[in-house]
Symmetry: D2
Subunit: 339 residues, 4 copies
């Protein structure tokens, strides 16, 4: 289905080349002062057409709020919103209506539904993530009133580890190199959630890490998720990664270390939550590929249309948005834990 979240819940809609993308946010409590400029800023960070390393499609991505907010304050009613699709160029996609692009959802969607909007990937396009950014930007504003902050950044582009600004530039050069060779890159986005109180997440099937994993793996091109020490930590011995507790003089309880990545027993422990998401290299390549058309014939084609050589930079605000939705959702449901 097209909804995400239990009590702070986004229901999204929209095809890449239809009239508009949009969504409904249900469960935002009443009384939050919202700054729509901050929502727009986060949308702008996701927006294509900003640098040589991203696609040249230019959308204004101007969000129009249709309900749920009056005089800058949330009403407790659903927040409906739309973002018009302004720069279609559907013609670019005309010839692709009859073939299945490799590594895209064309074939699986066509088989599942018997019909598809082939224009720019339709609903399978990463353009649907604009709706998530709106819901995430509002969740972040709500979280900020609890002093919870979420920050994601690119930590690997292709094989280039990105830790400093210089290495980010190196990563970007790597992208341009791949682009010039009609190729594409993947990478990793890391996210830190700080200021989280103890107690977020629900045991067993609603573990905080399970919700975060689900959230991140819904992002187009995501292929892996880990938190804390993740895959590497599975090589350690238990004695190397134990987070011992210590009491401070105010009676607070803390772990001395944070190998656990801020979550224990499925519930936040007050330390920073640290997670990483792996993204595959972009599927669309400007080079000749073999595929099958809807007549069942083997053919070759070269993709037209605009596309990023690497999505990881644009994925940053999406990772933040999904993290914000999850954390705010857990913060709300935690109000129901005790009598």
């Amino acid at each position: 289905m097209n909804s995400f979240g239990e009590r702070y819940r986004l229901t999204s809609f929209g095809e890449s080349h239809g009239p508009a993308m949009g969504g409904v946010i249900d469960g935002m409590p009443a009384g939050l002062k919202v700054d729509l400029d901050l929502v727009q800023e986060m949308l702008d960070r996701r927006r294509p057409g900003q640098s040589p390393t991203t696609t040249q499609r230019r959308e204004e991505d101007k969000v129009e709020i249709l309900s749920g907010i009056m005089d800058g304050v949330t009403l407790g009613t659903p927040i409906g919103f739309i973002i018009r699709n302004t720069d279609h160029r559907s013609a670019d996609y005309g010839e692709m209506s009859h073939l299945y692009r490799p590594n895209h959802g064309d074939y699986t969607w066509q088989t599942k539904y018997g019909v598809r909007d082939y224009r720019g990937g339709g609903r399978a396009s990463a353009r649907e993530t604009v709706s998530r950014v709106v819901a995430g930007a509002l969740a972040m504003q709500a979280l900020r009133t609890y002093d919870i902050e979420i920050e994601a950044k690119v930590t690997r582009i292709g094989t280039v580890e990105v830790n400093y600004l210089e290495t980010l530039e190196e990563g970007r050069r790597e992208i341009l190199r791949a682009k010039s060779e009609h190729d594409s890159l993947g990478g990793i986005v890391s996210c830190r959630i700080s200021g989280v109180p103890v107690g977020l997440g629900d045991p067993v099937f609603g573990k905080l890490q399970a919700r975060l994993a689900q959230a991140m793996m819904t992002i187009p091109a995501a292929k892996g998720f880990e938190y804390g020490l993740g895959f590497e930590g599975s090589k350690c011995r238990g004695s190397e990664v134990v987070d011992e507790f210590i009491a401070d003089i105010h009676g607070g309880v803390h772990t001395l270390t944070n190998y656990s990545g801020g979550i224990q027993g499925g519930i936040s422990n007050g330390k920073d939550i640290l997670l990483r998401v792996a993204f595959k290299p972009v599927a669309t390549l400007s080079r000749e590929l073999r595929t099958v058309n809807d007549q069942g014939e083997n053919i070759s084609f070269v993709a037209k249309g605009r596309h990023d050589p690497c999505v990881v930079e644009r994925a940053v605000p999406i990772v933040e948005a999904m993290a914000a939705i999850v954390v705010f959702d857990c913060l709300l449901t935690d109000r129901l834990s005790k009598m």
Copy 2:
């Protein structure tokens, strides 16, 4: 909450040292012939006390079906079941009621709920996974009628890559070595889902990989999830990992390779689904650790009670069970895709 799945849905209950574990499976269609011996076999694979590398706790783990099945056939009504907890030895845990074991949920649960069942971890114990195995074993039987098979296996123990039987023995020796040093190990479980038709999974927030990620990350001690080429694949160039399509002479469409891990655009493409789950080393160590008691005092303690030095072998049927629940759920909801 304590439910998992949309239309094939397990609601589970039970504390490790309470009277019983159990659950309700809602959404099993009517008319499936079930073999309860196979359910018991899968439970036995998960059961502790079977080898020197696992905990010595001996539970019969005998499932009692209370509803939903008559004369070996499912009725379409909910399947209620319980597994009695027979080997408590709660006395072992008495002293732990006043301290927070590091890397366990003791502290986070106590803070969230203001109360907890401290006996053997209570509901935070991995013992809750017995209920998942029951639901998973029944899902697997349903999937088998569609020729879908699910098989998981250990592929890394600590730092030992496990590909053959000999290396499995090497891994087990590594476990015993860790055990003798009062230490513990983690590892990786890999899972292959074969025979999957094209079309399982729902776009956007119900992507097959997102459901699998959520499912796997609800398993205690899981720290990472990936499918297809996963984290390593994020280092590749797009041209290296493109799954080109080819038509066979019967009109079928296939990918020549399976870098995608059987899922494209969130929907299964008919190839084997391949996923991996990383597990951290077991948290409980038979050595002195620092922690805090419920009086807020810094103390040292050595864990009593029985515990595995490595969970990855016992995690195998749990990974299979969770995969089965997800795939069967998707198989059912796929019936709703077309008019």
Copy 3:
């Protein structure tokens, strides 16, 4: 929350005097040919300003479909839509921002949320039902492909039983009489669902009558629901109202009578489903009433703004829409009953 339905699911949004009403329909299967003119026709039946017996507010109520339908065929993706609010006249409501209109939600909403959109009732306005009509009209088109028809009509206005066209005119005269006396009327809408196959509805908590009851009681001003013989039937003896079965020569099984109203054991039995919904007289009266303002002072006021003296005629398409959503939802989930 603001969603209705399990698998055919409407999530609605919008305040009466905000920019737009709208919604997202999730779960419409792919491949339905839709006629948007029929959707508009049903919206027009709900629309105010059509006769002297209804409010003079004139909205075009023109639906704009934003996604999920391409070339007149559903895609299996969510159908987002909006209906702009064009005729605000919010000024009429300015003075009402500081008082609680009796029998309206002003006071309860203000207390629950601490804030409210006071303009025309905001989200509590019956204007939100436009979104239901869109979802219902599409469900009706889907149901028609299964030869299921839904028809509601007014069967009582105030105390006037309405069975024929003449009595409908008598009912309308009753409305005008009430209007001229600054008063309002209630009544009953009855609904017949025909062509329903055996098997719709889910046992225990998803009984068809329970879903219909919930659906109808979400309609503003609805005060009662009954099906089959309803309240009157509870006075009968069992022997008077037994629906005996008979087999026809083709092996079909039928009830000789339909006292049950088409549902037995929570599941449709193939007979027409008959239900009735009672609506209270309109709450807004053009006469002086006592109330309290937001300063906690006792005051008197006379309502301004436009309002119907009787809603039952306009409720007819809404009853049909809600019935259609329920029945189509059940039709979809029934696909999951058997292996």
Copy 4:
């Protein structure tokens, strides 16, 4: 499905003549002191075999709590419970396995699922309501900590209005008269919910009356629901039934009257909530009836087995239980209304 409630959620299971009935209650907050004797008392009120006017089936209906409560305090974890079926006498039902009892779910269930547990109605039996009483009794204890009380009583048996103890005796004589004539009766159960704070219920699709209607219409044999003035009130003029507001000297706002039945705009207004549920006469009659067998032959039969001539008295605790589940659920979710 077999779950009811959003955040206080019962998932139930069990066939009338299977090993046990039971359920899982998810969402009970931690820290409630529970008195299991009160749960048993409420179960006893529902239990058959207590008077000449009810069925002679004797079940102990002894609830066994399996999880979620330790030392008499809720843990915040799911409460699993079972009630063993001890007095089967399934032999009585043997011959009925091949015919469809009129007014029962036999035919509709068989058609929907292709299989059914014919013994005593299987899951369609009103025996499933024991699970609701357990969940309801616990909800009532939680509500009592908020000074919310729920009380239902029989207000009509057949055509006998029951307002005082004498008339209850008259009603019971009416039942015995019907029984002696191999006939059955229906009636009405009325329910008052008092002490409710302002603000329970969610707008639009989660209106308090809609949840109550759904809850009540899931009870076997329920045919109608109304609240406030209900069906009769739909005959009144608006001016006759207006609940004007008045401020008290403490700044409180109240309605002078309670025509609305305690709910305005879908949200409780602090007045008593008043609702009524109509029950049809019992379907099983000890007289010859025509029906069809599973060979498609027209036959006659006389029902064996034990059955009530009138269910309304036994329905009283079930109505209370369902009301309690709804109100407690709304009380919990109301915590999420404001930032």
